[in-house]
């Protein structure tokens, strides 16, 4: 595939930048850990209740943590002219953007998946339910990154873009939230999670196919 080097070039640069400035990434991660740790402390030691709210609480925390880093996805590149240079690259812009979104997920989404088992213990989730939760986050968090990128691109350069991006993207996140948290809940209730996973997977494939294009179109408009 001739476009793969461009994809990895863009991915690699973003990961290198993250290595140089770790605090920005850790903000989202800390947010996730703090919210999910405070919740059981605030609600009190009732294992049944905690087990019941665990999937929803962790999914909401993951969703808000993703939202936190979203506005920065293109803002720095816009400010220092990198985005202009990406538009002027002979390589297809959507491929470069897909690389950026993938980097965003590797940095903001994947760590949440890996932390989930530890957080799950605080909610007294059984081991097999934790496995399902991790799997649902593994399919769901890239979906959040891909959908979020469209919103970030649309609000680029606008005043109050942090608020705008939340207003734009949150409604689009709702299906992911319902199916992601629903997968774990219905598994715990003994109904199996296959249906939820099918829908999450279908949404992910759809987003991977179309979100880079939509993001690219939005970026071209924002840059004019």
């Amino acid at each position: 595939m001739p476009v793969l080097p461009a994809f990895f070039a863009s991915l690699q640069r973003d990961l290198l930048l993250v290595m140089r400035r770790k605090t920005e990434v850790l903000t989202a991660l800390f947010f996730f850990v703090i919210v999910t740790t405070l919740l059981p402390l605030g609600i009190g030691p009732e294992p049944d209740l905690l087990r019941k709210i665990a999937p929803g609480a962790m999914w909401i925390a993951a969703l808000l943590a993703t939202l936190l880093g979203l506005q920065r996805l293109f803002a720095a590149d816009h400010a220092d002219g990198t985005l202009e240079q990406m538009v002027l690259s002979p390589e297809p812009l959507s491929v470069l953007i897909a690389g950026k979104i993938t980097a965003h997920w590797l940095v903001c989404g994947l760590p949440l998946v890996l932390l989930a088992p530890v957080i799950g213990l605080q909610f007294d989730l059984p081991a097999d339910a934790i496995g399902i939760l991790m799997l649902s986050l593994l399919v769901g968090t890239p979906l959040l990154s891909f959908i979020g990128a469209i919103g970030a691109a649309l609000t680029l350069g606008a005043r109050g873009s942090a608020l705008l991006v939340s207003l734009l993207v949150l409604p689009l996140y709702i299906p992911t939230l319902i199916f992601g948290a629903g997968a774990v809940e219905s598994y715990i209730a003994g109904m199996g999670a296959a249906g939820h996973f099918s829908l999450l997977g279908a949404l992910l494939i759809l987003a991977m196919a179309f979100a880079p294009w939509a993001t690219t179109a939005a970026l071209r408009i924002s840059l004019e």
Partner: protein, 212 residues
């Protein structure tokens, strides 16, 4: 008479309610250069962005090798090197990393030796492993221009290439530009000081002031 590679017909640009310029026609062939003059806010950068394909003109067309640039983006961008006010230097990366990343995004794998040589040529040999944030404005600009040495492109569009450069660096950059023109390259630039590019017969001056 050389045949025109870059062709602009009836370009006009409106920002808000203000018409920055209108009815701009230009033709540029191999080895020719165009120097844009004008006051601050006259629309120099806007015209450069239109020529680069970053902004759509309100009216008119830009043609590269006889076809509109919007229809052959990938080919045009292959032939184009655009360096604007801040052409994507990442403050946290070193100059070497910056150049390597930018070239990779342009689809070019540059060897470490080639990058080192280009930076040395721009007088940055000892600064190549420092993060861009500790460099002076002039050093950053030279680092940006080092990209021109590593990336083959027929058409250079440079926005204020001499900004923040000292006398010696300006001479270096002018030599770089002359070499580019001598090799049959095209050049469009803006600058607050008149560039000395030698072969005046191949140069055009376009004054944008008076358009408003």
């Amino acid at each position: 008479m050389t045949t025109a590679l870059l062709n602009a017909q009836g370009l006009a640009c409106t920002r808000g309610n203000q018409r920055l310029f209108s009815d701009i026609n230009l033709q540029l062939g191999a080895g020719q250069w165009l120097y844009l003059q004008g006051e601050n806010g006259a629309g120099k950068t806007s015209l450069l962005r239109i020529l680069a394909g970053l902004t759509l003109p309100t009216e008119g067309d830009v043609l590269w090798q006889d076809s509109p640039i919007g229809k052959q983006r990938s080919q045009y961008h292959q032939d184009l090197l655009y360096i604007g006010h801040h052409a994507g230097l990442k403050e946290d990366l070193t100059l070497t990393e910056n150049l390597r990343a930018q070239l990779a995004i342009d689809g070019i794998q540059a060897s470490a030796a080639a990058i080192r040589e280009a930076l040395t040529q721009m007088g940055l040999g000892k600064r190549q492993h420092l993060p861009a944030r500790v460099l002076s404005a002039g050093q950053k600009r030279r680092g940006l221009l080092a990209r021109a040495l590593l990336r083959p492109a027929k058409l250079w569009i440079l926005d204020e290439p001499f900004n923040a450069l000292d006398v010696k660096a300006i001479a270096d950059v002018q030599n770089l530009l002359k070499t580019h023109l001598a090799n049959g390259g095209l050049l469009v630039l803006t600058s607050h000081q008149t560039p000395d590019l030698g072969q005046d017969a191949a140069g055009f001056i376009l004054n944008l002031s008076g358009a408003h």
